[in-house]
């Protein structure tokens, strides 16, 4: 058992409980023991307690990313559970939920158990597997959903592709309704997408690249709204990119339909203009869209229509991404830049308060998964992230812990240096150059 730990003098943010004040945070036995004077006096006078001075830094629940790709099993040249979890804690994430589009996909019990077990062995971020909706993600036959949930799956999704068949989507929603997990939909009509490689608009026209219209996303969401209404099941829309999608989610929620949504950092700071020069690090799916879409997403994060902020961390090898735009794979890494990009996109311009951002990166993703967590409540697992919001740093992909170097943010200066990440009270990341900051 490790010694008690005190994070001294930080700005403790616990949006789940409306807490925002400068005080000490005490951790003992892997749990949150208490705050400031509310911590047990025996603990406060314990001479063995390790004191870490975090004055000037933010102390918040460990960040949660509901949408990552860890590539294991099968594509370990792109990422492994270990490298992905290392990237996660470096980015301040204590928990990551990983998508099932591995090779083979996570569509049976042993594979889901493998990912969970491997996550525990690695012992960095918590790794929560998301299982496939259909066998082989082929969209033909449902997986054994209850078995997969028992094995540890926290949601089901065929991410990477949509559940195309409306009948299967209906049944998946019916079967998960009472399990308390969402069906996470990769909303994309394959016919409308066609062989598109970027957002359909003036930029795609000019560059001669096949476009993906915004409605390729929205028509599936429109359908899923009706299916969620019919079944009472919970649809969670992954990586929302389009203004029309946001409108649909907003209207559906106003009617009491169980639909939630997430977006990813790049959709809030970049538009399709980033593809200029055929830059494959700006190739992602869904694609970067227009200024109007970007503005609509920011508004939707503000008003809570988009419940949580994910990364859609999608590592690829340099060789995969190096070549012509058409043949490069979709996706970029995000775990190590997400906090900084979100601070830059949402908090610095005043779209969101810092507690508002932390809520969408902690308690809200847990809520979407139908789980408790993402709070610093006494007795809760001591998953804690400490970061200096004012510290600016420069993105250098070569320094990433992820195997993926595919980022459009190379060379960007971002706010928000992660100093410390704790999972279950254990220090799983401590910034190397933090001696001056962490005393």
């Amino acid at each position: 058992m490790t010694n008690p730990l005190c994070l001294r003098g930080g700005r403790v943010l616990d949006p789940a409980r409306g807490i925002d004040r400068v005080q000490d945070l005490w951790i003992e036995g892997g749990k949150i023991a208490g705050w400031g004077e509310d911590a047990p006096s025996a603990l406060r006078s314990n001479p063995k307690a390790e004191i870490v001075d975090v004055r000037g830094a933010v102390v918040c629940p460990g960040l949660v990313d509901i949408h990552v790709h860890l590539r294991e099993p099968g594509q370990e040249d792109r990422e492994t559970i270990e490298t992905g979890a290392r990237a996660a804690v470096r980015g301040g994430f204590a928990t990551v939920a990983c998508m099932p589009n591995t090779d083979p996909p996570l569509d049976d019990r042993p594979r889901v158990e493998y990912v969970r077990r491997r996550g525990l062995e690695v012992g960095l971020a918590r790794v929560l597997p998301i299982a496939a909706v259909t066998k082989g993600q082929q969209g033909m036959e449902l997986t054994e959903i209850e078995d997969l949930v028992e094995a540890g799956a926290v949601a089901i999704s065929d991410d990477g592709k949509p559940v195309r068949n409306a009948e299967l989507m209906r049944r998946a929603l019916e079967l998960t309704r009472d399990l308390g997990i969402p069906v996470i939909q990769h909303a994309e009509d394959p016919d409308l997408k066609g062989v598109g490689v970027m957002h359909e608009g003036w930029v795609s026209t000019r560059m001669g690249l096949k476009g993906i219209p915004d409605i390729a996303e929205s028509v599936i969401v429109a359908r899923d709204v009706l299916l969620a209404e019919l079944t009472g099941g919970h649809v969670h829309v992954a990586h929302v990119s389009a203004a029309k999608t946001v409108d649909l989610i907003r209207q559906a929620r106003a009617r009491g339909i169980r639909i939630t949504g997430e977006t990813a950092p790049h959709y809030l700071v970049l538009t399709d203009e980033a593809v200029e020069g055929y830059d494959t690090s700006a190739k992602m799916n869904p694609p970067l869209r227009s200024e109007r879409d970007r503005d609509a997403l920011i508004e939707a994060v503000q008003d809570g229509t988009l419940d949580c902020l994910a990364t859609d961390h999608a590592p690829h090898t340099d060789i995969d991404k190096d070549g012509d735009f058409d043949s490069a794979p979709f996706g970029i890494v995000g775990l190590e830049t997400a906090l900084g990009v979100y601070l830059k996109a949402l908090v610095e311009p005043g779209h969101l308060t810092l507690p508002g951002l932390i809520a969408r990166m902690t308690v809200e993703p847990y809520r979407v998964l139908g789980r408790r967590g993402g709070t610093l409540e006494p007795g809760a697992e001591a998953d804690v992230t400490v970061f200096d919001p004012s510290h600016r740093w420069t993105v250098r992909a070569s320094e990433f812990a992820s195997k993926g170097r595919n980022t459009p943010f190379e060379g960007w200066e971002l706010p928000g240096r992660v100093l410390l990440t704790l999972v279950g009270g254990r220090t799983v990341f401590r910034a190397e150059t933090s001696e001056a900051t962490l005393r």
């Binding site: 026209t205 001669g208 190096d322 070549g323 735009f325 058409d326 490069a328």
Partner: protein, 333 residues
């Protein structure tokens, strides 16, 4: 133009640069009419023609242009489907660099492939058609031919008819013509109109008839129903009926209209037989002019100093070329 290492598209060129190329092309066009149609401008230089996509006329045209300029040429031809495209491009770039090639002409099925090579190579890169992006030398030869036929570009009404969405020729035409002051009207099936195409500075007509009305030039695009356009239009028969340019439709244009087509033509589909071979057709002149335009582009790009500095832009002297006066025409290396 000579300040450039590469020619990737007409979007990047200024009106002045386009005019410089056209003026140079006129000089080379005269060279082509001589008994010995050859000048030593590129002697000692090597050009590589990389054709990842099948092409006969563009490849021949470039090869001929290189030979007419006395360059050494190497050819590389492969079908895109038989190789891993990205890897081939990367390896190709490395090999080109290792072989000390000065100019690279690339045709590729992926839009932006020439940009990739241009970023990775010291050698000058000429886009000979990339995906559905641009085909700048085709655009230039079209504009050259229009200027030759009509005496000017500014103020011309040019109709571009057909599958604009998949046409790299159309994009290069639109950029170039609008920059030089032409009025460009396009027409084609709504399923083959790219998003926000008006932002090229062109107008979209509701029908072929409307586009051709009063046109000085009608440029007809090739339809590739068997490939890109599958599912975008019901049938070739229907296409020919609604969008095919027939002699009757051509009568709506100016009486001395110039009819163009980048080839190869689908006779009886996008262009009627009698229009293709009719008195207004300059389709074969386009082919001849293509060699001259490509000579001009190769010549101008070859004048870049190895340090990255560039030689002064100047039109090659016809007198000098007649005498094979090497100091005037040979690139400064």
């Amino acid at each position: 133009m000579t300040a450039r290492k590469d020619l990737l598209g007409l979007e990047d060129l200024s009106a002045d640069e386009i005019v410089t190329i056209l003026d140079n092309a006129r000089t080379f066009r005269e060279v082509l009419d001589r008994p010995i149609p050859k000048v030593p401008s590129l002697r000692g230089m090597t050009a590589a023609n990389l054709f990842f996509e099948p092409s006969t006329r563009t490849r021949l045209s470039f090869e001929l242009a290189e030979k007419r300029l006395s360059a050494d040429t190497v050819n590389f031809q492969t079908s895109g489907s038989s190789v891993s495209k990205g890897e081939t491009l990367r390896d190709t770039a490395r090999n080109i660099e290792a072989m000390g090639i000065h100019l690279v002409v690339i045709r590729h099925q992926a839009s932006g492939a020439p940009h990739y090579l241009a970023r990775h190579l010291e050698a000058g890169v000429i886009n000979a058609g990339d995906g559905t992006h641009e085909h700048p030398t085709q655009g230039l030869l079209d504009i050259y031919t229009m200027r030759e036929q009509r005496g000017r570009i500014a103020g011309l009404r040019v109709a571009i008819v057909g599958d604009v969405m998949h046409s790299r020729v159309a994009r290069s035409n639109m950029w170039g013509l609008v920059k030089l002051g032409a009025e460009v009207v396009i027409a084609g099936p709504p399923t083959m109109m790219p998003a926000e195409v008006e932002r090229f500075g062109v107008s979209v007509a509701r029908s072929v008839d409307e586009a051709i009305e009063g046109a000085d030039v009608v440029n007809i695009l090739r339809i590739q129903l068997e490939r890109q356009c599958a599912g975008l239009y019901p049938s070739l028969r229907e296409y020919a009926r609604v969008y095919g340019v027939t002699a009757e439709r051509i009568r709506r244009a100016k009486p001395d209209v110039t009819v163009m087509h980048p080839g190869p033509m689908n006779r009886g589909v996008e262009i009627a037989q009698d229009v293709a071979d009719g008195e207004h057709s300059v389709i074969l002149q386009q082919v001849t002019n293509g060699v001259a335009v490509r000579m001009a582009v190769l010549y101008l790009l070859s004048r870049r100093e190895p340090s990255g500095d560039v030689a002064e832009s100047e039109t090659p002297s016809v007198e000098a070329t007649k005498n094979h006066d090497e100091p005037t025409l040979s690139p400064r290396r």
